[in-house]
C-alpha cells in the first residue's frame, strides 16, 4: 500500500466504475464488492434509504460471482496502478473454501477480505461473525485454500467483538477489517411499510463512527493485529481518529456517495492532520490513543 486510505467493499463496485472520476492510483487500495460462489441476484427493491447522518442498504450481495470476477473483472483491472483486495462472502464454510481456492493465484490481488458480517443475506453472513467458533472455522478454511493475506471483516453487532477478533487471530488471520454495517430498520409512517424491500438493512455512514471507533479500539487492544478501520470516515480528522484507535489503514464507504473523490481528498488533507496530531507519519499514530493521565 502506498498510503493508508482505501475504498470500502461494496461502495466502489469493482473499481472500474470509479476510475473515470477518481485517480485510483493515488489511493492505498480498493476493496472490491464481495463476491459469492455463484453470481448473486441481491435483494428486492428498494435497497437503500437515507437516514440521519447515514444510510441503510440491503443490496444483499448482488455480485458477478467469483468466476466472472476472475475471468473478467481482475483482467480489466490490470491497467490500474492500484492495490486491489477482493472480498469474499459465503453461506457455508465450504463456500468460503471454494472462493478462497478460486482466488488463489488469480493474480492482481494483494489480499483477501473475508466478509463474515453481511447483515443482508439470509443464510451465512452476519451469523458467522457473531460466533467465535464459526469465524475461526471460516478463517482456517480460507487459509488452507489461499495463500493471500486475510483480513476478516467483522460486525460490531455482537455482545463482545474482541472475542470474535481473538478467535480470528488464533485461527491465523493476517488482519481485521472493521466494521460492517449495523443491522437496522426504517419504516414509512404513511404506508406502514419498511423503507427497504428486504425489511431490514445495514446502517453505515458518519452516524456509526463512534461505534466503529470503539470496535477498532477493542480489537486493537485484544489482538494487536493490523486493522483496516472504517465506518463513517468522512475527513482526514476521522482517519486520524481511526488510526489512534488502532487502525493501520482506513476505509471510506458511504461518504463516497456524497463525494466520489472523498477518499482522495482525505489523502490530500492527511499529512496536515497527522502533523496536527504531532506525528511524522501515519505509522506512529496507530493505537496511540492516550487513555490515562
Amino acid at each position: 500500500m502506498k498510503n493508508p486510505v482505501v475504498l470500502a467493499s461494496g461502495t466502489a463496485g469493482y473499481a472500474l466504475e470509479m476510475a473515470p472520476l477518481v485517480d485510483l492510483s493515488r489511493l492505498g487500495a480498493v476493496i472490491l464488492k464481495s463476491v459469492t460462489v455463484e453470481p448473486g441476484r441481491g435483494n428486492p427493491e428498494p435497497r437503500i434509504w437515507e437516514t440521519t447522518g447515514g444510510m441503510l442498504n440491503s443490496i444483499g450481495l448482488e455480485n458477478v460471482g467469483v468466476e466472472r470476477l476472475v475471468e473478467e473483472v481482475l483482467p480489466a483491472l490490470s491497467g490500474l496502478d492500484t492495490v486491489v483486495v477482493a472480498s469474499i462472502a459465503g453461506e457455508t464454510v465450504r463456500d468460503f473454501a471454494k472462493l478462497a481456492s478460486r482466488l488463489e493465484g488469480a493474480g492482481r490481488l494483494a489480499a483477501l477480505e473475508v466478509n463474515v458480517s453481511c447483515p443482508n443475506v439470509e443464510k451465512g453472513g452476519i451469523h458467522f461473525g457473531c460466533d467465535e467458533g464459526a469465524t475461526a472455522t471460516v478463517v482456517q478454511a480460507v487459509r488452507e485454500n489461499c495463500s493471500l493475506p486475510l483480513f476478516v471483516k467483522l460486525s460490531s453487532a455482537v455482545s463482545d467483538i474482541s472475542r470474535v477478533a481473538e478467535a480470528a487471530a488464533r485461527a491465523g488471520t493476517a488482519g481485521l477489517s472493521l466494521i460492517n454495517t449495523i443491522p437496522g430498520l426504517a419504516v414509512d409512517p404513511v404506508t406502514r411499510r419498511p423503507r427497504l424491500g428486504a425489511v431490514t438493512g445495514g446502517l453505515s455512514g458518519p452516524a456509526i463512527k463512534p461505534v466503529a471507533l470503539k470496535a477498532v479500539w477493542d480489537c486493537y487492544r485484544a489482538t494487536s493485529l493490523p486493522i483496516i478501520g472504517g465506518g463513517g470516515v468522512y475527513d482526514a480528522g476521522d482517519a486520524v481518529e481511526f488510526m489512534l484507535a488502532g487502525a493501520a489503514a482506513v476505509s471510506v464507504g458511504t461518504s463516497t456517495f456524497q463525494d466520489p473523490d472523498r477518499a482522495a481528498r482525505i489523502l490530500e488533507d492527511l499529512p496536515a492532520a497527522i502533523e496536527k496530531a504531532g506525528a511524522d507519519g501515519p505509522r506512529r499514530l496507530v493505537g496511540a490513543l492516550k487513555v490515562n493521565g
Binding site: 466504475e17 470509479m18 472520476l21 427493491e45 442498504n57 443490496i59 448482488e62 468522512y234
Partner: protein, 278 residues
C-alpha cells in the same frame, strides 16, 4: 444547445446557480458549471445528474435530477433543472439563491434513443415532463416531428416552455385548470392510431405502465424513464437496481434511467419505495 451527442464521461464539478424561476408548483433552476471545471459534455435528453443537496453530513445521498435543458457554449456548460419539492433535498434546492454553488455529478446514465426516429410520441406525467421537454426541444432542433401529451395535477404544475415547442402539444390537467381535463394517457388510444416510430414516456409508475401497454399494443416501440432511489449514480453500489422483465436486474443509474418498456416489469411497485415522479 450546441452539443448533443450522448455524453459518456460523467464528471464531478461545481455549478453556480444563475437564476431561479418559480414555475407554480415546481421550480426552474439554471446553473453554470464553475470556471475551472474543465470541458464538460452536455447531457443527452433523459440523462441525469446526481446533485449534492447538503453541505453537511446529515443528508449524505445526492439527489438525481434529469436535465431539463443544457447548452455547452463559450461560457462553459449551462444546465437547467425542473424541481418538484417533495422532501428535504428538493426543498433545500428550492431555497438556493443565485450565486450559491452546488456539487454536480454527471451527465449520468443512458438517455432517450432517438436514432432513426422521424415521428415521435412524447408522453409525460408531472415532473416527468422535465426530460421530455428537453427531448422535445432537441427534436425541434433536428427537425423531427412529434406529438407531446403532457399531464399535470393542476395548472400550477404545468411545465414552463411548452408553448414555444414546434411539435403538437396537448396539455392535460386532472382538475381541468389548463388544457383538457384528465391525464396524459387519456389522449393515447386515439393519437396512437396516427402511427409513430417510437414513444418516449416519463411519469409515475402506473402512468408509464399504462402508456407502455397501449404503445406495445399498437406496435410502437416505447422507451420509459424509470425512477429509483440512488446512492452512487455510477453503477457501483447496486442500490438503484430494479427487477425487470423475466427477473433480469435493471441497474437504473447505469443501464437506464431510460429502458425499452419491454425490459421493465410492471408489477405493482412496493409501497415502501419513494414517491413516484409526479
Amino acid at each position: 444547445m450546441t452539443e448533443t451527442e450522448v455524453a459518456t464521461a460523467a464528471a464531478l464539478f461545481e455549478a453556480t446557480l444563475l437564476g431561479r424561476q418559480d414555475a407554480g408548483a415546481t421550480i426552474l433552476l439554471e446553473f453554470a458549471a464553475a470556471a475551472g471545471a474543465g470541458p464538460l459534455k452536455a447531457p443527452a435528453p433523459g440523462q441525469f445528474y446526481q446533485v449534492r443537496c447538503d453541505t453537511g453530513k446529515e443528508h449524505l445521498l445526492r439527489r438525481p435530477l434529469s436535465a431539463f435543458g443544457a447548452s455547452a457554449g463559450q461560457g462553459g456548460l449551462r444546465l437547467s433543472f425542473m424541481v418538484d419539492v417533495v422532501g428535504w433535498g428538493t426543498r433545500r434546492l428550492s431555497l438556493l439563491e443565485p450565486g450559491d454553488s452546488v456539487g454536480m455529478l454527471g451527465p449520468l446514465g443512458r438517455g432517450f434513443e432517438v436514432a432513426g426516429v422521424r415521428k415521435a410520441l412524447l408522453v409525460a406525467g408531472g415532473i416527468g415532463a422535465a426530460p421530455l421537454a428537453y427531448l422535445a426541444r432537441e427534436l425541434d432542433r433536428s427537425g423531427v416531428t412529434y406529438e407531446f401529451l403532457a399531464g399535470f395535477r393542476t395548472v400550477s404544475g404545468v411545465c414552463p416552455g411548452l408553448d414555444e415547442l414546434r411539435g403538437g402539444v396537448s396539455v392535460f390537467t386532472e382538475d381541468g385548470s389548463r388544457g383538457e381535463a384528465g391525464v396524459a394517457c387519456d389522449g393515447l388510444p386515439e393519437i396512437l392510431r396516427r402511427g409513430f416510430d417510437a414513444a418516449f414516456v416519463c411519469g409515475p409508475q402506473e402512468m408509464m405502465a399504462a402508456a407502455a401497454g397501449l404503445c406495445e399494443g399498437a406496435g410502437i416501440p416505447c422507451q420509459v424513464s424509470l425512477d429509483s432511489r440512488m446512492a452512487c449514480g455510477i453503477g457501483a453500489c447496486r442500490g438503484c437496481v430494479k427487477e425487470g422483465a423475466g427477473g433480469r436486474s435493471l441497474c437504473v443509474c447505469l443501464e437506464g434511467p431510460v429502458f425499452d418498456s419491454r425490459q421493465v416489469s410492471w408489477k405493482k411497485r412496493t409501497e415502501g419505495s419513494g414517491p413516484a415522479l409526479r
